[in-house]
Amino acid sequence: MPTYNLKVNGEKQVVEAESDTPLLWALRDNLDLVGTKFGCGIGQCGACTVHIDGTATRSCLLPVSALEDKEITTIEGLSENGSHPVQQAWKEVDVPQCGYCQAGQIMTASAFLETNPKPTEEEIKIAMNGNICRCSAYNRIQRAVAIASEKIG
């Protein structure tokens, strides 16, 4: 089986996997980074969102073979101890219900605020539209993104 050199959360990792293995499963099964979630496998729900070179990307469609020399950040690497402003805002607002989609929501929100630190309400809704929350905690997700934006200042 081929091996790939990945850089995940600032650390070099060697992953032994078939070339078409999506990053999602390499993270979960090979590297024990299970914070990134499987929801649909077709890039429609956003549960598997990670950052590739800072951009929010669906990891369920992205083969490991295309990721050498890229900076991969997962929810586990977003901050040392859950201290990223988006994570802080998520706690303040008590966003999660079942919690399953939240890693993906947080990864989308944090990448979005990097490019647009002071978004309008409409911009938040559009940016977060690709992430399904089956518990429908959308009101709180919108509020938490707005609060995170204030924290980033």
Binding site: W25, V34, D94, P96, C98, C133, R134, S136, Y138
Partner: protein
């Protein structure tokens, strides 16, 4: 009115205290038993030991309190709210409380889990008495140490104070407390003295959730574990005839390809397969691999031939059959008051309408998955399940193993919505593990999950009402539903008791498509049908729809009919509150408001939806909700459930569409199946009726009224009524057509 808690239990049998070898006090109680509607001790109390308890409070010598919560957490917040109730009566600071998920081990515990928005309702008395009794034991221990009367001592935030002002921490007296008799008749606090109940407590798992820690079934792993992907019949009614696994076995990472089904059939053919068993009787092909990806790829490479076992059904045929049932005479009458036939015959006007809903998949965002390990000594099952006891029993029958051999460990669940009441996926992995004798985790793809699910059944309601001299004189509701009908007390919900001649009739169409509970079973669609009908009926009798409801409620006040489930006073309370808060009496230009009031799952709710037209399409902008759930234990968690229920209700009423053709669903993933998204979500404003009545659950009751409120608002906006879900595919309006 049956809205009050009636759980009576022997405290002596219900609590037990002991000192811990590691220091500290351990108090055990049986939450499942206590949370049952009719609590009963299934065992001889005199022989009770710690193995008979499933929930524990541990008070350490440093004063820290650990509460082991045994209830599965599916996002409804009980892991936070139930311990809050204990901590309140125990008089400890919430910050000094740690909550841990208890393990359900069927070797020791064989009690049912309460469901259906019932955890808080039935746990209320038991949890308070547990906390209060523990507090009293600690006070008694301190009093004995000081040589004073316990009545001179009080406890606050984990510290006991006597008349002289001397203090002892809980941790200082735990050893002594463990040796004391368990006190009887301990007084409970008055709601005005609450310091934890009614405060905003953040979800106890929040840190783990936002940092991506392993919590869910899908995250579970063991050394040497393999992965399994199951190929099930693509259509309901089909069975496996043959398969070719050559290509699958050539995929790198695929370890083996096996079939299962024999043990499942043993279970299905057994005397008591159990209510939760929704297994297919067909053989299934299982790909075993050393990664999830290889297992999924392997499954796609299997070439299977399927044969027809039972006829392949379609939505088109169901529709015809359900209408035939509504037109026919094969009904079972669930409630009948007066004489509806006579009322219809003597009426000035009769209104009759039919409402239709599709099947719906649950679509928990965490697809079905489970871990199993089977050897000669043990059967270990780990994963997300709402009914661990039923699972253990089913697996015991299926594998012909003693119940003592089986253990079930529950993980946090990535949504339930009723789907994880049924353990078919866990039974499958148990059969797989029994064959391969290796620890194994089965992971469903989204397509597996959506196309081989347990669905909300398709239902049609036909409602007929008679009007005489401007008054509603008769009301008849007919239900035609796939696989079973509305259950228990639903026919005694509003408007039962408010209309002199009233009848509810049900008929059922048997189908080979698996159906089951879906968040707020039956009422999730019934509310839309009935409440939309009432809105139209108000138009017929030329009355304001809100006033019409209030007038009907007047007739129920003081009823002697103890079958009536709702309280007219409490329903009136939420109606008045929602009318005030939504600005219903002072409508804004271009905003169309739909009103709905409903009682289900022991909670009274009224909602007003605001719809505006944007680009000639109706858009739901806001929903105002008034809720009477008695005492609000955790306002933060409560509002979370309410907002989620409303938006979920709006989403499925607007978009939820799922049809069958040749036994196969027409959607298999989110590319074609539409779930509500962030930008489509209305803003929800929640208001509580404040009272000191016992709390009721919130996981379900705000969902059913949402569809009704939205349909009525859309009717005002477009000028046309909607009789079928989903609304987006069944709306008729000049603007939309043109």
């Amino acid at each position: 009115m049956a809205t009050e808690n009636n759980s009576n239990f022997s405290r002596r049998g219900f609590l037990k205290a002991s000192s811990l070898a590691s220091g500290g006090l351990l108090i055990g109680f049986n939450l499942f038993t206590a949370c049952k509607q009719k609590a009963e001790m299934p065992i001889d109390i005199s022989k009770l030991n710690f193995a008979d308890f499933n929930a524990f409070i541990k008070i350490a010598e440093n004063g820290m309190v650990t509460i082991f919560s045994p209830n599965p957490e599916i996002g409804q917040g009980v892991k936070t709210s139930m311990p809050m109730i204990i901590a309140e009566e125990l008089n400890v600071a919430w910050k000094n409380v740690v909550v841990e998920q208890g393990v359900l081990d069927t070797e020791n515990y064989t009690r049912q889990v309460a469901g259906g928005s019932q955890s808080i309702r039935f746990g209320w008395d038991a949890l308070r008495q547990t906390g209060a009794t523990a507090r009293q034991m600690l006070i008694n221990a301190a009093a004995a140490k000081w040589g004073v009367s316990a009545s001179e001592c009080s406890a606050k935030e984990g510290v006991i104070t006597n008349a002289k002002g001397e203090t002892l921490g809980y941790g200082d007296v735990v050893k002594e407390a463990a040796l004391l008799e368990i006190p009887e008749n301990v007084a409970l606090k008055e709601p005005k003295d609450y310091t934890i109940i009614g405060t905003k407590a953040i979800n106890v798992d929040i840190d783990e959730i936002v940092s991506g820690k392993p919590l869910f079934g899908l995250d579970y792993k063991e050394e040497g574990m393999v992965y399994a992907s199951v190929l099930r019949p693509p259509a309901f009614g089909q069975e496996l005839e043959s398969f070719d696994a050559t290509a699958a076995k050539n995929i790198s990472g695929v370890v083996d390809v096996i079939t299962i089904g024999e043990k499942a059939r043993n279970l299905l053919n057994s005397e008591k397969p159990g209510w939760s068993v929704k297994l297919s009787s067909s053989d299934k092909v299982v790909v075993i691999a050393n990664s999830t990806w290889a297992a999924m790829k392997g499954k796609k490479a299997i070439k299977a031939v399927w044969k027809e076992g039972t006829p392949l059904e379609s939505t088109e045929a169901h529709d015809k059959e359900l209408v035939k049932l509504l037109d026919g005479k094969k009904f079972r009458t669930m409630r009948s008051d007066g004489d509806v036939k006579k009322a219809f015959a003597q009426a000035d006007k009769v209104l009759e309408r039919t409402y239709e809903s599709p099947f719906l998949p649950h679509n928990c965002l965490e697809p079905m998955n489970f871990f199993a390990s089977v050897d000669d000594a043990k059967v270990r099952l780990v994963g997300p399940i709402q009914t661990p006891e039923d699972l253990a029993t089913a697996v015991s029958t299926m594998l012909d193993r003693s119940l003592e051999d089986i253990s079930v460990k529950m993980t946090r669940m990535g949504g339930g919505f009723g789907r994880r009441l049924y353990g078919d996926f866990a039974m499958e992995v148990a059969e797989i593990a029994d064959v391969i004798r290796k620890p194994v985790k089965m992971v469903s793809s989204r397509e597996d999950d959506m196309t081989t699910g347990v669905y909300r059944p398709a239902i049609k309601y036909r409602i007929k009402a008679s009007v005489k001299n401007g008054e509603i004189t008769g009301y008849q509701l007919k239900e035609a539903a796939v696989n079973g009908n509305m259950y228990g007390l639903i026919p005694n919900f509003f408007p039962a008791g408010a209309i002199e001649n009233y009848q509810v009739d049900v008929a059922s169409l048997k189908s080979n498509i698996t159906t089951g509970a879906w968040r707020a079973p039956y009422t999730n669609f019934l509310s839309y049908a009935e409440q939309s009908f009432f809105d139209e009926l108000a138009e017929v009798i030329e009355k304001d729809p809100v006033q019409m409801r209030l007038d009907l409620l007047q007739k129920v006040k003081g009823t002697k009919d103890d079958k009536i489930q709702y309280s007219p006073e409490r329903l009136e309370g939420v109606i008045n509150l929602v009318v005030e808060k939504s600005g219903y009496r002072t409508p804004k230009e271009g905003v169309y408001q739909g009103f709905c009031a409903y009682y289900c799952h022991n909670t009274h709710v009224a909602e007003v939806a605001d719809v505006v037209m944007e680009n000639n399409k109706p858009v739901v902008k806001n929903v105002t909700v008034a809720v009477d759930c008695g005492i609000v234990v955790n306002p933060l968690g409560a509002i979370n459930q309410i907002e989620g229920g409303v938006v979920d209700g709006v989403g499925h009423a607007m978009y939820g569409d799922f049809k069958f053709k040749d036994g196969m669903p027409d959607s298999s993933n989110f590319g074609t199946y539409r779930l509500i998204r962030n930008s489509e979500s209305p803003k929800v404003a929640t208001y509580f009726v404040e009272n000191n009545l016992s709390p009721t659950g919130l996981g379900e009751p705000t969902l059913p009224p949402a569809g009704a409120a939205v349909s009525i608002a859309i009717t005002k906006a477009t000028g046309n009524r909607i009789y079928k879900q989903p609304f987006t595919k069944n709306m008729v309006a000049k603007e939309i057509i043109g």
